[in-house]
Symmetry: C2
Subunit: 82 residues, 2 copies
Amino acid sequence: MIYNVQIKVMPLKELLDPQGKAVIGSLKNLDINNVQDVRIGKHITLQIEAENENAAKKIAETTATKLLANPVMEYFEIEMIN
Amino acid sequence: MIYNVQIKVMPLKELLDPQGKAVIGSLKNLDINNVQDVRIGKHITLQIEAENENAAKKIAETTATKLLANPVMEYFEIEMIN
């Protein structure tokens, strides 16, 4: 069966997010002043062929750990869509 | 009140996603062959100060349209977290 999996990779909460800070600065130039915090990460959708949901989740975890997220700066969350 | 808003910016479904294709290639090198499709976008979290949820959503929409998403190549989805 094919499972749709979402992986969210975000900068660690303890770290500054320069990309987010840049967006806040640009929002001020557009006269939008009520956005207080912006953090920017990656959103990845995977189609995984697996026997069951657990197997699909495990593959997604391996993918995130080995390829998508850098644990020094980022954390990830996995969500099954089906 | 402060609202937490998530914005998901993804490459349009009709378009090729070269970053995703690169991940599939790398997965094959890691002997993971059951991932069929990968699409990579941005995941943005905003903290917005607004009077009510609708106002917060409107600010998020303006932010996404003017700053975060390129409509030629991307679509976006907004989700309120609280």
